[in-house]
């Protein structure tokens, strides 16, 4: 007989700096699943890692491993984080509670933005990644398939999905509360991945004066910029572009901040303290934590 175990943290239990220590990207997630399967071969695992949560779903024998502490230690070792840093922020659920929680998560009921539609795709991606490695089985397969179906049903059949909210649409809404018109504004996207595309899709509807895309791989920046009638710019001259931009969106996979405090201070002075909005949707953060100004 099997037992379901969930161990995780989210935006309500852990601050951003703790979440980013534990966050997984695609390659580290794959490595983590392989490592945990190697350590606990009789178990099933799925890792759900988004900008607002990191959760580990494990199915094991009733009196088998891993137990909570073993799972925590395994994860802490993988992410090179002291377990005691993460432990105070964790929540633990088993069996029925874990199932309910997953259904809530997939239905966006546990999201920072209630009704946001991205989480369902993220749950699906997490399950697909685990299934592709053979990390799921008789418990997690039906569980995640059912959770995805429930999430779809909730968004389809309830008013929750009516707003078609996403992090990107909320970001645009936020910026609209700061700026009145956008014809004279410059939007800079640092990063050219899937999130950047989603966000630029919403920002392009504002019809900004200029839309710039900066990425380490210039060809990707050019492709994305062309899609939205913008221009690709040199990643090496990021400081200049930040100084020229009114709205900066960062969504790179960098492990360290690419927009540092000193870069921002230089940019603010160059802008003569004109307002600038930084939207950092990456985890780990792309923008170094700054004091608020003005």
């Amino acid at each position: 007989m099997q037992r379901l175990l969930l161990l995780g943290l989210n935006h309500t239990t852990a601050p951003l700096d703790v979440r980013e220590k534990l966050a997984f990207d695609a390659s580290s997630q794959k490595h983590a699943l392989e490592s945990m399967r190697g350590q606990f071969p009789q178990c099933e695992f799925v890792i759900l890692s988004t900008c607002n949560r990191v959760e580990f779903y494990a199915a094991r024998e009733v009196h088998g491993s891993p137990r909570t502490d073993e799972l925590l230690n395994a994860v802490a070792l993988l992410q090179d984080v002291p377990a005691e840093v993460v432990k105070p922020h964790l929540y633990e659920k088993t069996d029925r509670e874990a199932v309910t929680h997953l259904f809530h998560v997939a239905s966006s009921l546990d999201s920072m933005v209630l009704g946001e539609t991205q989480i369902l795709g993220q749950v699906r991606d997490a399950y697909d990644a685990a299934a592709a490695l053979g990390s799921t089985g008789v418990m997690l397969n039906p569980l995640f398939q059912r959770a995805i179906a429930v999430g779809k049903q909730v968004l389809r059949d309830t008013a929750l999905g009516e707003g078609r909210l996403s992090i990107a649409s909320v970001a645009v809404d936020y910026v609209r509360q700061i700026f009145d018109h956008f014809k004279d504004k410059t939007v800079l996207s640092v990063g050219a991945g899937e999130m950047a595309q989603l966000v630029l899709q919403h920002f392009a509807e504002l019809k900004p004066g200029r839309l710039l895309v900066a990425n380490r791989t210039k060809s990707r920046a050019e492709a994305l910029a062309q899609q939205f009638g913008g221009a690709a710019v040199d990643f090496d001259r990021l400081a200049d572009h930040v100084a020229a931009a009114d709205i900066v969106i960062t969504s790179t996979g960098a492990s360290e901040p690419i927009i540092t405090r000193s870069l921002m201070e230089t940019a603010l002075k160059a802008r003569r303290f004109k307002p600038i909005v930084m939207l950092d949707i990456a985890l780990p953060r792309d923008v170094e934590a700054l004091d608020h100004r003005g």
Partner: protein, 271 residues
Amino acid sequence: MPPEIPTLPQLSILALAVVALGIGIVLSVFRSRGNEKLRVPMKMLYYWGLSLAIVVVFWHTVRRGHWTPLESNFDTLVSLGVILGVFVMYLQKRRPVAGLDWFVMPMVMMLLLLGGVFGRTKLHAYLPTAWSVLHLVGVFGGAVAFALAGATGAMYLLSNQRLRNKTALPGSKFASLERLEHVTYLSVTLGFGLLTLGALMGFLWLLRDETKVLPPGKIILTGVIWVIYAIILHTPINPSFRGRKTAMLSIAGFILMIATVVAVQFVPSGK
């Protein structure tokens, strides 16, 4: 010539105007929670309240027997309230600033109430010379403009705080920070010009009228207010002053302005 005292029927209509505006504000708050059906009644109450105040001004003017404006506390304060209210309704029709009525209509109500109170209790007449009229138009016109700047400044601070904390205030979102800053700056520009005119005319009036003695407190307060708004106007040169600092200064300037206007009622300025 002693000023015309407002009659009880006039004060009753004025009170009705204040009540109509007050109910309009309440409906505006409830409307902001998503009840769009309240939009029309809210607007009707605002228009009714302002119309009643205009009726009172005209009635008072007819009773006086002549049309010279700014002759007493009553017609000055009530007229200012009407001007401020009508200007805000016009602005909301042309290019709305969400939430502005929550901040400005209480000021309109206050002006109408003060007009009624001081109209009966502080009966000194404003001397109807060219200098005095220009002085009063400048000073009171500036006060109206600064009232608007103070309101948008307060809205800027509230909205800014909410955005930083990522929390939601009950009710509708205010206009964007950029728009609020723009309206504040425009209001301060207009008010500063009028205040400068009013202060200069007041100085010339003082020179020409030997019976008039200006209390030093009034000069100092006016000077401080003038300096505050001069600083705000120089934010393009000193841009580190924009944003929250401008908003706070515009609120401080408005409070000082109100304090000056009210204090003047209680300080004699003649020998």
